[in-house]
């Protein structure tokens, strides 16, 4: 394959990574934005989503699509409820104190991860995609006869991966509508602005926090359900998404949702592209180090604006 | 003896976004004298002393300490030169004992000499009347005692310039009297800049009064002069005709 088609393939892979990442990172960012806490267990909610997707699809059986649709509904809701429970019984009791929340969610991380190990086991298990046609992609070349459309060997994507990209976009639009066009969104934004004042105006801040924490976790789980037909479900799979989501949220500006989307696209695309051309470890080293430096020198994020 | 300028601020200005907290404020402190800085809430008094002490970076302006430009020095360096600062909102080490609070304040100068250090801490606690509470956890003290402790910490620093931001706020009348006596006893050696709302304290202590209003110096002079000043009356004293 030439460089051009190769780059296009890498970009498509990057778009798939971005799609998953944007959902996971949105969840983290939403929680940070509204509740001002960092949820270290976020990656485990992702992992739970993937594992539950496997559980649901194997329980339902039949055509892969049945299991997949079941998982799409059950996993995010269940994970959201678990997260709301964590909020109720843990975070609320430490008063959302920033430091203690981090320590507590580290504890939650191990509890979820290790319980999964006990109940689900150490195996990585695949989930069948509901559909998986390989679609060849055309490439344009400027040859002797002007533009010509060719079909390079190996330049293709599966219908499922395309679906992931569109599904993530659809969820994003729905989320955006929820936040900007509904009463729920208004209440969430009011709480984000000033929780004390919101409380004084009758907003049930405690409930809003539980919902937001549940919604954040649910988004991660949804991302995981989408990814699990591509990547297998494993009890340790939460680490990478957590780190990447952190990176995205930091680059995008802590708690800024538009920043998160842009950063997820940036990171996901470059991750996809870089890992096709370079050693993934080196890429990760550079990315991790640079993100730390961003936090040191531009704590408001690369895309955020400094507060005055 | 001609008054010696220990501390001088020239053209100090702080603008927060659009809010002019301080605009071209000039002020100088005479050696060993007590200067009171008064003005309504939000006038910019705390902002001004914050810029002098180095806690707040000014938008522009200069601060001189004994003739030296200290505008570029960070807060801790200014304190090391011989300033002390008490916060408007009580700021102590709540988890440490009263003794340790004062010991930390005295420790910058005396930590190398255990005996002198210990003696100093006890002397200060004795003077301020907290000696019998030396072992109590500072955070458990009553509000009034915490304020007194913070003043004690300032004393323990043996400052040349002592800046106090509303030290008598929330103190009882007897505590206020004790405070006045304390300030009188250290004035002379120590140059004092006092932000104060209680006119009784200002009348009793201030050699010089500067009035700040909406970030600008409105008037400056002795207490009697200030008291007679119509503009000040209108802006600030108007509603408090006692004193």
């Amino acid at each position: 394959m030439d460089f051009g088609p190769h780059l296009m393939l890498a970009s498509l892979e990057g778009a798939v990574i971005s799609a998953i990442l944007v959902l996971t990172a949105m969840g983290l960012s939403l929680v940070f934005g509204v509740m001002r806490v960092v949820n270290v267990a976020h990656g485990e909610f992702f992992m739970l989503g993937a594992v539950l997707a496997w559980v649901v699809s194997t329980t339902l059986g039949g055509h892969p699509a049945i299991g997949f649709i079941g998982a799409l509904i059950v996993a995010p809701v269940l994970v959201g409820c678990i997260a709301a429970g964590v909020d109720r019984f843990v975070l609320k009791r430490v008063n959302y104190d920033a430091d203690r929340t981090i320590v507590a969610t580290i504890g939650v991380l191990y509890i979820i991860q290790q319980s999964t190990l006990m109940l689900y086991g150490p195996e990585a298990r695949p989930v069948q995609p509901p559909f998986n046609t390989r679609l060849s992609l055309p490439w344009f070349e400027f040859g002797e006869n002007g533009f010509a459309m060719i079909w390079p060997w190996g330049l293709s994507i599966t219908s499922y991966k395309l679906f992931v990209i569109f599904a993530a976009a659809a969820v994003l639009v729905a989320l955006w509508l929820l936040l900007t066009r509904t009463r729920i969104g208004l209440i969430m934004r009011a709480t984000q602005q000033d929780s004390d004042t919101a409380q004084a105006f009758g907003v049930p801040v405690g409930k809003v926090y539980s919902w937001v924490f549940g919604l954040g976790a649910g988004l991660a789980a949804l991302g995981a359900v989408l990814v699990v037909p591509i990547q297998q479900a494993h009890y340790l799979m939460g680490g990478d998404p957590l780190l990447l989501a952190f990176i995205v949220v930091i680059i995008g500006g802590l708690g800024s949702l538009p920043g998160t989307v842009i950063a997820a696209l940036l990171i996901g695309m470059s991750d996809g592209i870089i890992s096709v051309f370079f050693s993934p470890t080196l890429a990760k080293i550079i990315a991790t180090f640079l993100v730390a430096m961003v936090l040191v020198f531009r704590p408001q994020g690369l895309l955020g604006r400094a507060e005055t | 003896m001609a008054a010696v300028n220990v501390l001088e601020a020239k053209g100090l200005t702080k603008i927060y976004g659009g809010v002019e907290a301080n605009v071209d404020v000039d002020l100088h402190l005479d050696q060993g004298k007590i200067t009171a800085l008064i003005g309504p809430n939000g006038a910019g008094k705390s902002t001004f002393v914050g810029m002098i002490s180095g806690r707040i970076a000014p938008t522009r302006g200069t601060v001189y300490f004994k003739g030296r430009d200290i505008s570029q020095l960070p807060a801790h360096k200014r304190m090391q030169l011989g300033m002390a600062y008490t916060f408007q909102i009580t700021s102590i080490f709540p988890g440490l004992s009263v003794y340790d609070n004062v010991a930390l304040a005295a420790g910058l100068r005396l930590a190398h000499d255990k005996q002198a250090h210990d003696a100093k801490v006890h002397a200060v606690l004795d003077r301020i009347g907290l000696d019998d509470r030396a072992d109590q956890t500072a955070g458990d003290l009553s509000y009034g005692h915490q304020r007194v402790l913070e003043i004690a910490m300032g004393l323990a620093q043996e400052p040349e310039v002592f800046i106090l931001d509303e030290p008598t706020q929330g103190l009882s009348e007897t505590e206020v009297d004790a405070f006045i006596a304390l300030m009188k006893s250290i004035a002379g050696e120590t140059t004092i800049l006092l932000i104060e709302h209680n006119m009784r304290v200002v009348a009793a202590l201030a050699d010089h009064v500067t009035v700040l209003d909406q970030g600008r110096v409105l008037a400056s002079g002795t207490f009697a002069e200030i008291h007679a000043n119509d503009a000040v009356q209108a802006a600030y004293l108007g509603s408090t005709p006692h004193a």
Partner: protein, 314 residues
């Protein structure tokens, strides 16, 4: 004066107890305690930064690893003997802490936690990247021939216990002294009220950096001791889990206390040891303990005892 004698007596008593344990414990537990003492050095280093200075790092494994690899790689690649290898391990950890501290200390709170986490992750990935030398996740063995000091073979159970004991004692007493000194008091002042400390004239940034470097060197000593005494160097010791452990130990034992780190390590070690007997998900215990601690006993064991009447506990 009585008040300051009691802690000293307690510290010496603990050391005497550790000495006696060697003669009374069964072999398995003697081995366990060698490990516990080494890990307690790590916990003490962490405690200086977290417990005393109030800075919560989520990346201390990088300093432990700097010590471990600093020791392991110098012995393996340059053939240094124990003492110079140990010194280079301490140097590596100290320099890393200096660099990381210089950068990370510009941030505070949550940002400091994430920055330290990211730096540690970078170090971990670097170890994996240079797999040719470090052998990555698999790790490498420090040969018996290189674990000899003044004619003593440090690989025997007895030599190992006593080396760990000596290293622990030195660190333990040094740390107890350090936090009693004006320097230690100033760190506590920063933890209690940073702005106040600054306005008393203390150079807070410099104090924090020094705390970070000392903390890093202690962690490095622990890492080097681990490589020396147990002969294994591996990337897992640089992973996130080994950054979480010292936090867990210190929280459990009691942050900002001299004996808390040791107590925390002992408890956690045996909790995990026992639970790994009946499940491979032994980190479940760590998670549950972390959550319970934050919810019900943020002061840890020693902190809670202190509150319940044993106020003199150091």
């Amino acid at each position: 004066m009585m008040a300051s004698r009691k802690p000293l007596a307690l510290h010496l008593g603990i050391l005497a107890l550790l000495l006696v344990l060697f003669f009374v414990l069964p072999a398995y537990h003697v081995g366990a305690f060698s490990r516990i003492m080494v890990l307690a050095i790590y916990a003490m280093g962490y405690n200086l930064l977290f417990g005393y200075t109030g800075l919560l790092s989520l990346g201390h494994a990088m300093f432990f690893a700097a010590g471990m690899y600093g020791f392991g790689l110098t012995t393996n690649l340059t053939g240094f003997s124990v003492i110079p290898a140990f010194a280079s391990a301490m140097l590596a950890a100290g320099l890393l802490a200096l660099g990381v501290g210089y950068l990370a200390l510009r941030t505070a709170g949550v940002a400091f936690m994430i920055v330290t986490l990211m730096f540690a992750q970078t170090v971990y990935l670097i170890i994996l990247y240079f797999g040719t030398y470090t052998r990555g996740d698999e790790g490498f063995v420090v040969q018996q021939a290189q674990r000899q000091l003044a004619g003593i073979d440090l690989t025997t159970e007895t030599a190992r216990y006593f080396t760990a004991f000596i290293l622990f004692s030195v660190c333990f007493l040094a740390m107890a002294k350090l936090v009693q000194m004006p320097f230690g008091k100033r760190l506590i002042a920063i933890r209690e009220n940073e702005e106040r400390a600054r306005m008393l004239g203390y150079d807070v940034a410099n104090l924090k950096l020094r705390a970070m470097v000392i903390s890093g060197v202690f962690s490095g000593v622990a890492g080097a001791s681990y490589a020396l005494l147990f002969g294994y160097v591996g990337a897992s010791f640089a992973g996130v889990q080994y950054s979480i452990f010292p936090l867990l130990w210190v929280l459990l034992g009691g942050a900002g206390t001299t004996i808390g780190p040791l107590i925390g390590v002992i408890f956690m070690f045996y909790l995990i040891d026992i639970s790994s007997g009946w499940t491979n998900a032994y980190m479940l215990v760590a998670g549950i303990v972390l959550v319970l601690l934050t919810l019900f006993a943020p002061q840890g064991i020693v902190g809670t005892l202190r509150k319940r009447g044993v106020a003199w506990l150091p």
